[in-house]
Amino acid sequence: MSSSIVTITTFFPTLGAIVIMLYSIIQLRRGKSREEIRPHYRWIAFIVSMITFVLSLGFLLGFDGNKTEPQLVTKVMWIQELGVQYYIGVDGISLWLVLLTTFLVPGAVMASWTFAKRVHELMIFILILETGMIGVFVSFDLFLFYLFWEIVLIPMYFLIGIYGGENRIYAAVKFVVYTVVGSLLMLVAIIALYYLNTQATGVTTFDMVEITNNITAGKLVIASNFQWWMWLAFALAFFIKVPLWPFHTWLPDAHTEAPTGASVILAGVLLKMGTYGLMRFNLPMFPEVSYQAAPWVMLLAVIGIVYGALVAMVQPDMKKLVAYSSVSHMGFIVLGIFAFTDKSMQGALYQMLNHGISTGALFLCVGILYDRRHTREIEEFGGVAQRMPRYSTMFLITAMSSLGLPLLNGFVGEFLILLGTFSSTVPYAKVYAVVGGIGVVLSAVYLLWMLQRVLFGQITKHENEELDHLSIRERFSLMPPVAMAVIMGVTPMLFLKASYNSVSNVSAIVESQASRAAK
């Protein structure tokens, strides 16, 4: 498999966005009415995102799970004067995250089908966003990574701000300001790291593989207190993105106001950029500090798990409920990452995929009800299962996968994380694992309670008596994630195999550094 496939996959959505732009200009100039060509935009966007998905499947053909270094690599000098390279590829950690992205975007496009206004801008934003997200996961150059990291921000800002609900402006600005606070501090850390590396080795480069190797090999030694500062700068950017408690407050606002399609992408992919960053930068580059900070990070993660679950329980709004459940579930992932064991980190990576799929699907389910009733209040519903049996089945499976029922994907991830955390050498890890376990129980409580109130029982509101069945489009948008939840729950090794070496490489770096420090 030629390595240019990564480049093609990354920029194919942008190409699609340009096509939509040109198509709209040309058709309007030919005198076609906006209504006439509106469906075309949707179809172009859908087809482009499907082709992108197929292209990204091509990664699997060329990928060798036994290697830990980046594969399918393209490495060209980009800005000679600064030592910035166009260096992209995939390794075991990023491979599945790219696939998750390309898998979710067609669903997001389908969920945005019902918008009647500003359709072509909507599709352009989604497609540019896709390029940004893939770019974050495939970049192996710090500068390039930062570039994509920031590019993701802008289309999401417009998606929330233009297509969102009542309070959209507040939510959109809050989202951007929060993220920018983190990312600009990360920029300082990147500059500092670049400078230190240049000083130590004489090579001006942003190549993160090389810098990480230099650190691991002891060629680049950073003073301990300076390491702390840099670790904090990187970590803050990622914690905000995850979001880890107490940096989570932008998330419920953004989710409540965002349109369904944007919510799917936000929860499904954008949050993973945070946990991905922790795994990619904080752990291998500053293993000692990571190990020392681990108890505190785990504490925050556990607080997030319990807090998110408790707040989710009392939410009257379904979408807010799912948003807070994200805070809780993302806490699990951070817990797994900072336990530093093979198992917990494998579980964390797996849980990133699971959360993307399950939560993405949950947002789709909520969106489907919202499209029918224009409300997301739980008490407005009841007995939906009587009118929409197919929908209710899918909603049920999705919720079950989210709460970690065995044979569905969530179980594998949560089980691995808890198992790994129990055997972790980090102080207090066992306590945190126990408290985290309570989170699993709590997630069953709020999800089942919601299902019970929305789907089952008698129809209490007469508006619900006329609910439409799922349309074909809705069925097609829900089926893939539900099927995936089952497949990933039954055959986890299919997925874990490819990422095993890359992930255990990271945990090995931390473990060895930690033991060296202990001596």
Binding site: G161, L184, L187
Partner: protein, 499 residues
């Protein structure tokens, strides 16, 4: 000055000659071809500006030479800044025809003034002598004073022009007095000779040199509008016709930075000099660091409260002056040069759009006037969004690249500058909030009533396209500009390395 060897090399001042002659010709054209002036003026101006650009490029092989007894320095600093100045003037001239038509103003003098201003700016870039610096500064200033009041019947423009003139003259006096004192202290007005005097420790009156340096710092501080010498900026920027504001905020600023670099980074750039030379160096570095910090913080915080687009951009330009000063403190010209290029492109673009949306007499310049226009005039509003994001420093725009390059250079240059980088980062975070505000208003708010789609002439469209493409191009491929900038470090650096 050695009169025995004047070295009258007219080729080396060809760019200045072209613009000066073009200015005179434009006045003649206006006098003799009254009717055609409106059409011929802009075309003739553009052609001569392009010729100026060609002349600058043609001077490249002769870089690192001096002529006119050291009055003119032809090095990479001069060539690069001259090129940026010419690009700024070309974009402004392209925008001018629409502005003059819309406002029904006489076209002739405007283009001539534009040419004289450009001449002055080019002189500032090529000046190797304090006298030349002052000549260039005054030539460009006097032209811009007139331009600021070009809408003669408009009270606001008159106020702006007068304010600009009074404070500008005031600052010029400071600068001139500083120059005189420096001359008294060192016995020369040649910048390179001053440096040699400092390095040799042969300053005649040390205290006088320090006072002279401080006064020149104040003078330059006024001209680049950095805090605490920025007070004239918001009023002048708001009152002047938007096009003139665009010119004031870019070209002259770029040129003043060129002179500023020449005098301070090169002339006074003697960190290891004995006695007063070293002291002067430490003093101005410290003073500028404080000015940079105050400028950024003050500009950004006050910009938060602005509801008028032009005032907001004025305060943002004060903040950008602060960021540029961080680059200045590395005493290399590359970060300053690159930042000025990116800033000029984005500012010109933003002001161009403000001008197009403003209607006659700058009636619509409140940000709330832009409510909901996002999908009415998508070309303008998405472009404005691009410039706002660029100024906020979000990739893939030139604004990000400029900031990144300044921060990176400052971080590597000296540990003392790292605090400034942190302050600048905090400021960038603050600035995101107000740069997002126009985007919020344009795209997320319902449409305001009575919005009329602005007319866009072909020339204005070209000007806008240049700024958009430039903003994206230097955001993704800064190589070309950086290659030119890194060709040679200023003399001070080179000598330091030789030691």
């Amino acid at each position: 000055m050695q009169f025995s060897n004047l070295n009258l090399d007219y080729f080396s001042i060809l760019p200045e000659i072209i613009t000066a002659v073009a200015g005179v010709l434009l006045m003649l054209i206006d006098a003799f071809a009254k009717k055609g002036g409106r059409k011929i003026g802009p075309i003739f101006s553009i052609v001569s500006l392009v010729a100026t650009g060609v002349a600058i490029v043609a001077l490249w092989p002769r870089a690192n030479s001096t002529s006119f007894a050291g009055m003119i320095v032809n090095d990479h600093l001069r060539l690069y800044f001259a090129l940026v100045v010419v690009v700024c003037s070309i974009i402004a001239t392209l925008m001018a025809s629409q502005f003059l038509d819309d406002e029904a103003l006489p076209p002739g003098e405007f283009y001539a003034l534009m040419m004289f201003a450009t001449t002055g700016m080019l002189m500032m870039a090529s000046a190797g002598d304090l006298v030349m610096v002052f000549l260039g500064l005054e030539t460009s200033s006097i032209a811009t004073y007139v331009m600021a009041g070009y809408r003669r019947t408009d009270l606001r423009a008159n106020e702006s022009s007068l304010k600009y003139f009074l404070l500008g003259s005031f600052s010029a006096a400071f600068l001139l007095y500083g120059m005189a004192l420096t001359y008294g202290a060192t016995g020369t007005t040649n910048i390179e000779a001053i440096r040699q005097v400092l390095m040799a420790g042969k300053v005649i009156y040390p205290q006088m040199l320090l006072v002279g340096g401080a006064m020149m710092l104040v003078g330059f501080g006024f001209k680049i509008a950095t805090a605490p010498f920025h007070l004239w900026t918001p009023d002048v920027y708001e009152g002047a016709p938007t096009l003139v504001t665009a010119i004031l905020a870019t070209g002259p600023k770029v040129a003043v930075f060129a002179s500023f670099l020449r005098v301070f980074a090169e002339g006074f750039g003697a960190p290891n000099a004995p006695d007063v030379g070293g002291q002067l160096h430490d003093n101005w570095i410290q003073a500028l660091a404080i000015m940079a910090a105050i400028g950024m913080t003050f500009g950004n915080i006050v910009a938060l409260a602005q509801r008028n687009m032009k005032r907001m951009l004025a305060y943002s330009s004060i903040a950008h002056g602060g960021y540029t000063l961080i680059g200045f403190l590395t005493t290399e010209y590359a970060p300053v040069g690159f930042y000025m290029l990116t800033y000029a492109l984005m500012s010109l673009g933003a002001f161009a759009i403000v001008q197009m949306l403003a209607r006659q007499g700058d009636a619509k310049t409140e940000i709330s006037d832009y409510a909901g226009i996002g999908f009415e005039v998508p070309n303008l509003s998405f472009a404005l969004a691009l410039f706002m994001l660029g100024m906020a420093g979000i990739p893939p725009t030139a604004g990000f690249m400029g900031k990144f390059y300044v921060f990176k250079s400052a971080w590597a240059s000296s540990p003392n500058l790292r605090w400034l980088v942190i302050i600048a980062i905090v400021n960038s975070i603050i600035s995101v909030y107000y740069y997002l505000y126009p985007i919020v208003v344009m795209f997320f708010r319902p449409q305001a009533e009575g919005f009329i789609k602005p007319r866009l002439t072909a020339m204005a469209q070209v000007a806008l396209d240049i700024t958009i493409i430039g903003t994206l191009y230097f955001g993704l491929f800064p190589n070309s500009a950086l290659r030119i900038l890194q060709q040679k470090a200023p003399a001070a650096q080179q000598i330091a390395i030789q030691k």
